[in-house]
């Protein structure tokens, strides 16, 4: 769906935005964040091959912590941040470090305090990325309060994970907290109109740069 120039520019933009988000997370947990070089794709979920391992997050079974932030109106969609539950627990424990009375290191279950922290972390991270898209497009985005869910995803559930969203901007970037195994994935589902707006803005920028 993207030509080479568009993919290059979008990767560059996302690289910066995810870098900022990772920097924010780094500030929250006071640990270095290792970023993989992002691969950015604009795909239709219905066209994705479930056997493609890059899309395991959509098609593999398991317990997930999922946070989502819905945004609109001119640029409309929903951004997701997903962690396996046990990694979400590690992240919450790291964030709660100073408030040690709240942390029970050997307890694998997420408590209300963990969920509160994870919601706040997700809010900061997703705002960092989506807000910069708003700044890039020079439009005002309205946010709906972020949702958090603990879900057990079965194969049959996968097809409805991102229901009602036709196209998905997949940021294959995963961030890795130094000295831990916490990795997460960010997925942004966009409406067709929003994709058109984004492509139009990128094309205008590319035309200005390359004539």
């Amino acid at each position: 769906m993207l030509n080479d120039l568009q993919k290059d520019l979008l990767t560059e933009l996302v690289n910066v935005y995810v870098g900022q988000a990772a920097n924010m997370l780094s500030e929250i947990v006071e640990k270095r964040i290792v970023l993989n070089i992002p691969e950015v794709e604009l795909i239709s979920i219905s066209d994705v091959d479930p056997g493609d391992r890059r899309y395991n997050i959509f098609f593999s079974e398991g317990h997930l912590f999922r946070s989502s932030l819905q945004f609109g109106y001119e640029f409309q969609g929903k951004a997701f941040l997903m962690f396996p539950v046990e990694q979400a627990k590690v992240l919450a424990n790291i964030c709660l470090g100073e408030l040690s009375e709240s942390v029970i290191p050997d307890d694998p279950d997420l408590m209300d305090t963990d969920l509160d922290v994870l919601k706040e972390v997700s809010n900061v991270l997703l705002n960092a990325i989506i807000g910069e898209f708003g700044n890039f497009l020079e439009i005002k985005l309205e946010y709906v309060l972020p949702d958090i869910e603990l879900i057990y995803v079965t194969n049959s559930d996968q097809q409805i994970l991102l229901q009602n969203e036709v196209y998905v901007l997949v940021l294959h970037t995963s961030f890795l907290l130094a000295d831990t195994d916490v990795t997460g994935i960010i997925v942004i589902a966009l409406s067709m109109n929003s994709i058109s707006s984004l492509l139009a803005k990128m094309d205008a920028l590319l035309e200005a740069d390359h004539g």
Partner: protein, 124 residues
């Protein structure tokens, strides 16, 4: 000095409360979980300064700010929000705020927050 913290995250409430108490022990602090509680506490508690999030359930921070400014132009207000959009910052600045900080509350921003509170305190 009386400070009202309006914030839906208990984690951030605790961080802010600890920060303020550690630096300005004489501060009297009250906490609200959303804009509606925040507005009610504003009328009862009559704080000198309010720190508020923007995206909150029910009445959000901007709506609370507008309601407060309808009757009070003087109370100092500092925004602490994850929203990094320039348009958001411009909108709330029109309503008269003393500062806008983006989350997360790093050590550097915590220092700025304390300086803003102290400046507001001395401006009285």
């Amino acid at each position: 000095m009386k400070v009202l913290i309006v914030e839906d995250s208990i984690f951030v409430q605790k961080l802010l409360t600890k920060l303020i108490v550690d630096h300005i022990p004489a501060c009297e602090i009250q906490v609200a979980n959303n804009g509606e509680q925040g507005y009610n506490l504003f009328t009862e508690f009559q704080p000198d300064l309010i720190t508020t999030d923007l995206l909150m359930p029910g009445l959000n921070g901007q709506e609370m700010l507008r309601k407060i400014r309808e009757t009070n132009r003087h109370v100092k207000i500092i925004i602490l929000s994850a929203d990094i959009q320039k348009t958001t910052k411009e909108e709330v600045e029109l309503l008269g705020i003393s500062g806008f900080l983006n989350k997360p509350l790093t050590a550097e921003k915590a220092t700025t927050m304390i300086e803003l509170i102290q400046a507001a305190c001395h401006a009285e």
